[in-house]
């Protein structure tokens, strides 16, 4: 279906049109890169230099102290421990939540597409509808329910919430993937006496590895970048990095330390960016697959 080579005629020699085309692309690239550049140079300047108001100027000398402060000394209100704890909280939240939701998503997709038990279509429809609805309508009752079972403001609680709200997307992606698996494969295994779980672990999981990679990446980025659920459910001790970052930048007392703010912002963005740069193609496949959801 998709071709990897561009359409259109072979480019002629240098024409005004070609120059205009490259001018547009370069201008667009500048627009997309400038914020990243600004963030990096600001984080390497001293506050005296920042006060000169030259946001695009290179730093006079490299000053990494803002990075050290952002990591281990920046203040959220009156507590000054840096964004370090937020980083580890985000790791502690994201890793188990991704593992669990990928596993449950794979089981769901497999059961819904190859076993189709009673009510499968209804369940799938409910999940898809649930995926479209704004979280705000679920929040208060969920907070109350979680408080009742002792999971509110806990690590297990925020992980559970991420797994639940991830269900629509992961189930959809795995279901679409397993639908394309030939049913004969499943039938043959059944004739050989293999059950639901054996077929799943020995046949289906190994073939689904590409999908597992895509879904993991999508879920990892999504959960790492979450703000709302972390703010509501994680509680003081497990605030994810995004929430701590916002607290550092937007609730400071006294003069704002822009270099520290920018260093903290980069530190928060670095994990999803690393995933993107290291695995660009998979990431693109992931968002393309996620876009089908619309």
């Amino acid at each position: 279906m998709t071709k990897s080579h561009p359409n259109g005629p072979k480019p002629a020699r240098i024409t005004a049109g070609r120059i205009g085309l490259y001018a547009f692309l370069v201008a667009a690239a500048l627009f997309f890169l400038l914020p990243l550049y600004t963030m990096v140079v600001t984080s390497l300047k001293s506050m005296d230099e920042i006060r000169l108001g030259q946001i695009f100027a290179l730093p006079a000398e490299l000053d990494f102290s803002a990075w050290v402060t952002a990591w281990s000394g920046a203040c959220m209100g009156t507590v000054c421990v840096g964004i370090r704890s937020g980083f580890w909280n985000s790791v502690a939240i994201t890793v188990p939540a991704v593992a669990l939701s990928v596993f449950i998503g794979a089981v769901n997709g497999y059961a819904l597409s190859l076993w189709r038990p009673r009510g499968a279509n209804l369940l799938f429809g409910l999940l898809m509808a649930g995926g479209l609805i704004p979280y705000q309508i679920f929040l208060y009752p969920m907070v109350r329910a979680m408080a009742n079972i002792g999971l509110y403001n806990s690590l297990a609680g925020i992980i559970l919430v991420h797994v639940i709200f991830g269900l629509p997307l992961v189930t959809l992606l795995f279901r679409n993937y397993f639908v394309s698996v030939p049913e004969e494969l499943c039938k043959a295994a059944r004739v050989d006496g293999a059950g639901f779980w054996r077929i799943f672990f020995e046949i289906m999981l190994p073939i689904a590895v590409p999908m597992i990679v895509v879904v993991s990446m999508l879920q990892f980025t999504g959960i790492w970048n979450d703000f709302l659920l972390g703010l509501v459910f994680a509680g003081r001790d497990y605030l994810p990095m995004t929430v701590q970052l916002n607290n550092i930048v937007n609730t400071t007392m006294g003069e704002r330390t822009y270099n520290v703010n920018m260093a903290a912002t980069i530190l928060t963005a670095v994990v999803p960016l690393a995933i993107y740069f290291l695995s660009g193609r998979w990431f693109v496949r992931g968002i393309a697959a996620g876009a089908v959801k619309g």
Binding site: P6, Q54, L127, N246
Partner: protein, 295 residues
């Protein structure tokens, strides 16, 4: 028969946690919230029903009305901006250019970043005393003004700018995949007829990208209704009510102002908004699939 039932039993058991999530968490909590919106609950849930009083109060609130207007302006400009810029980038990348993959990487990387990060970067870029404005002024253009984040009339456009910067890459990826999927024959035919390149993109390519762009637009529009993080990070709703949005109004009343009834009424309106936005699209898809099946 009994064997089949037993096999399906394992599948049913495997789906039980998901059934629980769908029925108890999604439907149950939604029903609870909607019920609360008809009561006079404030800090704690109350069971005194007040009919549509919370809804009247909601639509009498200047803040809620401002937030609806803001999200509409933001939504239209953000979705349109992402679609237009994303399509232009995809069309430009399709013209056999050098360094295509480098350009593609640059246009998409903001999409990997969170809305909090996006909001904070642009808050800094648009900082009126030390940001772009100060730099341009120091170059000699003393009257240059770029104070969007602190200007009531412009703050919403600052959000649009940051949003388009973050989301245009997504549209580019989807549009480029669509363009590459269009038959080369159509290109040849159009070129033989002497149709200029830009006309080919507008009259031949664009209509065929319709479904892909509609899906991308839908995805972005769903994000618009949920807009919260970027506002909190960039402007926190200000200056005044200039960037208040419904999702933030609900969160503030839910957890800050202890105004449960009003917050759940707002959330119910938001859900209705999603249904109204999605239903025609779903219906059109359903009808088209049926038409395909019949043909």
């Amino acid at each position: 028969m009994s064997i089949k039932r037993k096999r399906n039993l394992s599948a049913t058991i495997a789906l039980l946690p998901t059934w629980f999530a769908a029925v108890v968490v999604f439907i149950g909590t939604m029903a609870w919230s909607i019920r609360l919106s008809f009561t006079n609950s404030t800090l704690f849930p109350s069971s005194t029903y007040v009919g549509f009083a919370q809804y009247s109060k909601l639509f009498a609130s200047a803040k809620w009305l401002a937030s609806l207007q803001n999200v509409l302006i933001f939504g239209v400009l953000y979705v349109a901006g992402c679609l237009v810029l994303g399509f232009l980038l995809a069309a430009a990348l399709d013209r056999k250019i050098r360094f295509e993959s480098a350009f593609r990487t640059i246009f998409l990387y903001p999409y990997a970043m969170s809305f909090v990060v996006t909001g904070l970067i642009w808050q800094w870029m648009l900082n009126p005393t030390l940001g772009i404005q100060a730099s341009v002024r120091s170059l000699g253009w003393e009257s240059f003004v770029l104070d969007w984040v602190v200007n009531r009339d412009m703050a919403i456009y600052a959000l649009v700018l940051a949003g388009v910067w973050q989301g245009a890459g997504l549209v580019m990826v989807i549009a480029l995949a669509g363009i590459r999927g269009i038959e080369a024959e159509q290109w040849k035919a159009a070129r033989i007829d002497g149709i200029p390149v830009w006309r080919i993109y507008v009259s031949i390519i664009l209509p065929q990208l319709g479904p892909a762009l509609a899906a991308a637009g839908m995805l972005l529009a769903m994000g618009v209704i949920k807009t919260y993080d970027i506002v909190v990070a960039m402007t926190n709703g200000g200056p005044g009510n200039a960037t208040e949005v419904p999702a933030k109004f609900i969160m503030d009343n839910l957890f800050g102002r202890q105004n449960l009834g009003l917050a759940t009424a707002g959330a119910t309106v938001l859900v209705l908004g999603v249904i109204i936005a999605v239903a025609p699209f779903r219906y059109a898809m359903h009808m088209r699939n049926q038409a395909k099946g019949a043909a």
